[in-house]
Symmetry: C2
Subunit: 348 residues, 2 copies
DNA sequence: TTTTAACACGAAAACGTTTGCGTAAGACTG
DNA sequence: CAGTCTTACGCAAACGTTTTCGTGTTAAAA
C-alpha cells in the first residue's frame, strides 16, 4: 500500500535537505530559483500535500472544531450542523461530530475523546439526561483546560461560556398573541416537562401572552408531555393524551405546541374529532422542520433559523480561537437569534 | 490560558524522565511499584490524557473516518451518519464530516482537506454534479495513496472500491408490483433524470414490473423531473408538472415516485384535483423519511434502512483499515441492503 | 590580497508520544 | 572477591512539519 509522499522522501530523491524542500515549497527567498523550480516541480508531480497531523502537532492547533449534539436525525440539529460547517470551512476549519444520543455518559465520553488534542474547541447542545442530572463537570473541566465551548439552543446559565440561543420566550409569546388576535378564546399549550430549558421558556411566553391580554391561564389547558419516551415510537400515546385534552376542554379553539410533532399530532387528532383547521381550531408549532411545510394543512410555525444559529456559533468559536491576546477577563457573549412566525394554513 | 498537561511536565515535576512516566502510566514491568504509584497518582490528579494528535503522528493512524455527503439536512443522509457514528464509536473511531453540497468542487476540496492525514479512510456518497461530470479522478487519486473508500447509495461502477447500496431495482419493482396487484391499471412513474444512478435503477424496476405483468410502458406516464433545481424552493413548479401529468392522463390510478417529495406532491395535487387516496389513486414513494410517516394520508414507501447502510459501511471500512496483511489482490465487496415495503394509508 | 557581505543551503530543535536499548547500582553466585 | 544477573531507570529515535541559526562558498569592496 502506497503512502503519501513526505518532505523527507522528496529531499532524499532530490539530494537536498528537508529544510531546503520545505523552504522551497513555501517560496522562501533563502532558496535559489533553480532549486525552487526543481523542488516544486517534483512536489507537484507527486502531488505533495503537507501532513495535517504533523502540522497540528507542531502548531498546537488542529483547525478542527467539535460538535456534540444529542441527535443528528433531527431537522433542527442537522441544519445547525450545516451552518457550522459552512462558516467553518470558509474559515479553514474542519468539523468533527459526536452524538450524545441524549445520554449523559455518551456526552462525557465523546467530549473526552475529542478534547485530547483532536479539536480546538466545542460547539454543543446539552443532552436531556445531562439537563436532568444537572451534572456539568465535564463542561467545566474542558474549559478549565483551555478549550473554549459555545453552547447553542439547550444551554444552562450555570456555565459561563459563549452561547447562541433562540428567543424562545418571545417567539412563544408572539405565537400565542397571534392566536389571540385571530380571535381564539381558549388557547391550549402542549409542552414538555420543565427541565428542558427551551420548553420552560416557551411555556413562560405562553403564560405572559395570556396575561397581557387579561386572560387567566387555566391549568387544564396545559398539557405537559413526558418527552423522555421516544415519541416517534409511542406516537399513539402522544395522540391519546392530546385527544384527552380536547375531549375534556371542548372550548379549545387554539393550540400552541412547543415542537413540530406535538403540533402535527394535535392537528391529526383535531381532524379525527371532526374539527376543521383553521376554522374551528388554529394551530401553531415551534421549529423549522420539514413536516410543517409539507403537512396538510401546512403548519404555521415559529421558525428558529437553525442554520443561522450554527453560523453564529461557529463564528463565535473561531473568533475566540483566533483572538491573539486573550483578555485576562474572559468575556462571554450570548447571542440571541430572533424567531420568525412563518404563517401557513393552520392559522387564519 | 491553561494547556493540557503533558508527559514532559509530569516528568519535570516528579524529577524522572519522560520515558519513565510513559512506562509507568502504561504499567510497564520495567518500572518499580513505588514510581508507578507516584506517577499514576500525579497523572490522575492532573487528569492526564495522552494527546491524540501526537499518537496519530506516531502511529500513522488517526482512528478517525471521514464522511463526505452531498447534504446533511436530509433524513436519509443523517440516518446514515448516525449508523456510521454508532459503529465507529463502538470500535474506537471518530467521525469527521464534510459536505459537498452536491457540488463537484466542494467535494474535491473537502476530500483533499481530509485526506492529508486527518483521517484513515472515507465513507461517501457522490454529489450530483460529480455524477453529471463523470469526473472521478479525486476518488482514484485518494485510493492510489492508500486511503480506502467505501461508497454508499450513489455509486459508480467505474470505481473499484467497497460499496453499500440499496437494491433500488428490486425495491422499485416490488412497489410497482404491489400497485398492480392492488388493481391499478395505469401506473405512472415520477422519477429523476437518468444520470442519478439510483433514479435510473428505480426506473428500470418500474419498467420490468410492468413488463412482467404484460403491461406496455407508456412514455407519457413517465415524468422525469430535472432535479438540479432546488425543489424545496420550486415546489410550485414541481406540482405544476405533476398536475400536467394527471390532466393529460386521466386514467392514472397508481403512482410510483422515486422519492418522498415527489410522492407527497403527487398526493397533494391529486387531492386538489378531487381524487381520493387510496380509493381513486394509490401512491408509493421511495425513502424512509419523516414526511411519509406523518403525512395525511400517510405514505406507503420503500424503506432503504439508511441507518443500517451506515453501519455496514462503517464496518466495511474499519475491517479494511484493521486488516493486518493486505492481500496483494485487493478484494472489494458490494453489500446490497434489502429494501422493505412499509405499507401505510396511501395504498389499499 | 585581505576583509566583508550576500547567498544558498543544512543542522537541529520543537510539538507529544512510545519503545528498543543501554547502563548504573545493587544483589547474587561460585 | 570477581563475575553475572536483576532491577529500575534514562537516552534517543521516530512520526512529518516549520523555523531559527549556523556555515561554507563566492563575489564585491577596500
Amino acid at each position: 500500500m502506497k503512502r503519501k509522499i513526505t518532505l523527507k522522501q522528496i529531499a532524499r530523491e532530490l539530494d537536498v535537505s528537508i529544510s531546503t524542500v520545505s523552504k522551497a515549497l513555501r517560496n522562501s527567498p533563502e532558496i535559489s530559483e533553480d532549486t525552487k523550480q526543481k523542488v516544486q516541480a517534483f512536489a507537484k508531480l507527486y502531488n505533495y500535500r503537507p501532513n495535517n497531523i504533523a502540522l497540528s502537532l507542531k502548531n498546537r492547533k488542529t483547525n478542527t472544531i467539535g460538535i456534540i449534539i444529542p441527535e443528528i436525525v433531527h431537522h433542527f440539529f442537522s441544519k445547525v450542523i450545516r451552518g457550522v460547517e459552512l462558516v467553518a470551512n470558509k474559515r479553514g476549519y474542519n468539523v468533527i461530530i459526536g452524538l450524545s444520543n441524549e445520554s449523559f455518559s455518551k456526552e462525557v465520553i465523546n467530549m473526552e475523546m475529542l478534547a485530547n488534542g483532536s479539536i480546538d474547541g466545542f460547539i454543543l447542545s446539552i443532552s436531556k439526561e445531562t439537563l436532568q442530572q444537572q451534572d456539568y463537570h465535564h463542561f467545566i473541566e474542558t474549559m478549565s483546560q483551555g478549550m473554549p465551548i459555545v453552547m447553542f439552543d439547550r444551554v444552562v446559565s450555570d456555565i459561563k461560556c459563549d452561547k447562541v440561543i433562540v428567543d424562545d420566550f418571545k417567539g412563544a409569546k408572539n405565537a400565542v398573541e397571534k392566536l389571540i388576535k385571530n380571535n381564539c378564546k381558549s388557547v391550549a399549550l402542549i409542552t414538555t416537562k420543565d427541565y428542558v430549558s427551551v420548553g420552560k421558556l416557551r411555556t413562560q411566553g405562553y403564560l405572559e401572552a395570556l396575561q397581557d391580554h387579561k386572560i387567566t391561564p387555566q391549568a387544564e389547558l396545559i398539557l405537559k408531555i413526558d418527552d423522555t419516551m421516544d415519541y416517534e415510537v409511542h406516537l399513539d400515546k402522544l395522540e391519546a393524551e392530546i385527544e384527552q385534552l380536547f375531549k375534556s376542554n371542548q372550548s379549545i379553539d387554539g393550540i400552541f405546541a412547543v415542537n413540530e410533532l406535538y403540533a402535527l399530532s394535535a392537528m391529526k387528532v383535531a381532524s379525527k374529532l371532526g374539527l376543521r383547521i383553521p376554522d374551528d381550531i388554529q394551530v401553531i408549532g415551534f421549529t423549522d422542520g420539514v413536516l410543517s411545510k409539507h403537512s396538510t394543512p401546512s403548519l404555521t410555525t415559529v421558525s428558529q433559523h437553525a442554520q443561522h444559529m450554527g453560523e453564529r456559533a461557529a463564528d463565535l468559536l473561531i473568533d475566540k480561537l483566533e483572538k491573539e491576546f486573550e483578555t485576562e477577563e474572559e468575556e462571554f457573549q450570548t447571542v440571541v437569534i430572533a424567531t420568525e412566525l412563518v404563517e401557513r394554513e393552520s392559522t387564519k
